[in-house]
């Protein structure tokens, strides 16, 4: 779409926009319209809220042969002996170790868990210190090196433009935190 969309064209697209089902090009146009239109923004927020609510609900649908399978399983239960669950099996195995084997096994398991955890923590911490010292920084283009998404690359180009505008003597430096960061 070459020109800015108006509300009549945007609102039918909002549901798909919220679901991420639009093409990148159309999504960008819708996004820019929503960013400048309080009405469409409210409608988009409503869609997003509804989608989130629905997403939180479990989807339950009985199978076609639900009734016959249920009947068979009930019949099975009536004749089969109780099969111990995994938890019950582990519990039985654990208590079979006796009062000597249990503490030894627990110590070994704790050691095996804690040592790798400490090693990972130390590695990450060293990485952070290196990063602050400038010895192991991640290099990234602010425009297009390896952006998380195409739209993000475009947003960064605009953000750089806005940041430069705000650095002018008669610019408004509040915009440094306004354009992209309020979207986070």
């Amino acid at each position: 779409m070459a020109t800015m969309l108006d509300c009549r064209r945007v609102q039918p697209l909002l549901s798909e926009y919220v679901d991420g089902a639009l093409s990148e090009e159309t999504a960008w146009d819708v996004k820019m319209h929503v960013a400048s239109c309080a009405v469409c923004q409210r409608v988009a927020d409503d869609f997003a809220g509804t989608a989130e609510l629905l997403g939180g609900l479990a989807h339950v649908e009985p199978s076609a042969n639900f009734e016959s399978v249920l009947a068979a399983r009930l019949a099975d239960l009536s004749v089969k002996p109780h099969r111990p669950s995994l938890r019950e099996q582990v519990s039985e195995w654990w208590y079979a170790r006796g009062s000597v084997g249990r503490p030894a096994l627990a110590s070994a398991a704790a050691f095996a868990f804690v040592v790798p955890l400490i090693m990972v923590t130390l590695t990450l911490r060293q990485g952070a210190v290196d990063a602050v010292n400038g010895t192991a920084v991640v290099k990234q283009s602010n425009a297009a090196a390896s952006p998380a998404s195409d739209a993000e690359a475009l947003e960064r180009l605009y953000d750089d433009h806005a940041a430069y505008s705000s650095s002018l003597l008669l610019g408004d430096s509040s915009a440094v935190l306004t354009p992209a960061d309020s979207r986070l």
Partner: protein
């Protein structure tokens, strides 16, 4: 014999009459000469009115420039902490703490929504995302408090393309302020300037049709703040992401460093090239022009290096306009293998003229 010679009285009376006559004639001639001279040197009424208006305007403009100069210098030289609310045309806003130390730099911290901090200490600029524990580090954006840019900024007003004017008075954050409007070709920006300190208390931006694009205003100001060194440093233990751009002050400096870029032969009057930014991996080069209040960013992508979104647009339509926030628009087009993106607030005609002027 009668003496016909005049008596002394008669002599005296005749001389007085002659002097009076000469005086009257002289006065008339003198008055005529004075009136003629006055007519010759006095301008017409309309011209005089025009001149008086221009003198008044110049005096108003001088006053506005003086106030703006004071504002710019105050922002560089005064320490303060302020709480600021911003609002964009889309209804979205932020609330920020602003800490300004002339020696250490500036810190802006978003209160609402939380999680974003910007620090600039004249050497480096840090954009900090506390939620993602990430710092993006780049060159400083702040003008140094040396006054050189202030002089340059004042020259902007000499060409009559940007006109400043004192338009009123107001109160902001409990302080009295002058309101100065700066009108450019595409944007009008209004500044509320504190009468006592010269600090900017509020800024509003409009497009030329009068639509409000953004507003930022201090709700409180502390002029005796206390800072710590940590205020102007990024927090420790954060992942530092360095941008891979090189910045140059001129095209010559960029070309000397091996950066190849096409420069438009035409940009609107008043715009000057201020900055060249080149990605180290050679994917793109951006030229930034400004006229003092508006910015024009022209990005040139290496072949096949434009974001796919832009590539698709130009492949489909040849050239295309894209909407951006705060009254800005993008124009993307292709010339051979090169793809260009121009972000500005220029008119359609001006945008196309810039594009067509590229070699």
């Amino acid at each position: 014999m009668r003496n016909f010679s005049p008596t002394n009285k008669q002599r005296t009376g005749g001389a007085a009459t002659t002097v009076a006559a000469l005086f009257a004639v002289g006065s008339l001639v003198g008055a005529g000469v004075v009136l003629a001279l006055q007519a010759a040197v006095t301008p017409t009424h309309a011209w005089a009115q025009q001149q008086a208006k221009e003198e008044k305007d110049a005096s108003k403009e001088d006053r506005a420039v003086r106030l703006l100069r004071r504002m710019v210098l105050a922002e560089m030289r005064k320490a303060f902490v302020a709480r600021e609310a911003t609002l964009n045309a889309d209804g979205r806003g932020t609330e920020q703490w602003v800490k300004r130390d002339p020696r250490r730099g500036i810190r802006r911290e978003s209160i609402r929504p939380p999680g974003m901090i910007w620090i600039d200490n004249y050497r480096r600029s840090y954009r900090i995302n506390t939620r993602e524990n990430r710092v993006v580090e780049s060159d400083s954006l702040l003008p140094r408090p040396d006054g050189a840019r202030v002089q340059e900024f004042l020259h902007r007003f000499t060409g009559q393309l940007i006109t400043p004017e004192v338009v009123g008075e107001d109160r902001v954050a409990g302080r009295s302020a002058h309101i100065v409007a700066v009108t450019g070709p595409a944007t009008v920006r209004r500044f509320w300037i504190d009468k006592k300190t010269g600090l900017r208390l509020k800024t509003e931006e409009y497009n030329r049709s009068g639509k409000l694009l953004s507003s930022s205003s201090y709700s409180s100001v502390d002029l005796s703040p206390k800072f710590t060194e940590e205020d102007f440093r990024p927090p420790p233990d954060m992942r530092v992401v360095k941008d891979n751009r090189r910045r140059f002050d001129s095209l010559q400096a960029a070309e000397k460093a091996g950066v190849k870029v096409a420069r438009p032969r035409w940009v609107p009057a008043g715009y000057g090239l201020r900055n060249v930014e080149a990605l180290r991996d050679g994917r793109s080069v951006t030229l930034r022009y400004t006229n003092g209040i508006d910015v024009l960013s022209l990005t040139q992508f290496a072949p096949d290096k434009a974001p796919p979104h832009l590539r698709k647009r130009v492949e489909k339509e040849g050239s295309s306009f894209l909407p951006f926030p705060r009254g800005q628009r993008g124009y993307v087009w292709r010339d051979g293998e090169r793809t260009f993106l121009l972000i500005s607030s220029l008119s359609d005609d001006q945008v196309r003229r810039v594009a067509e002027s590229l070699p």
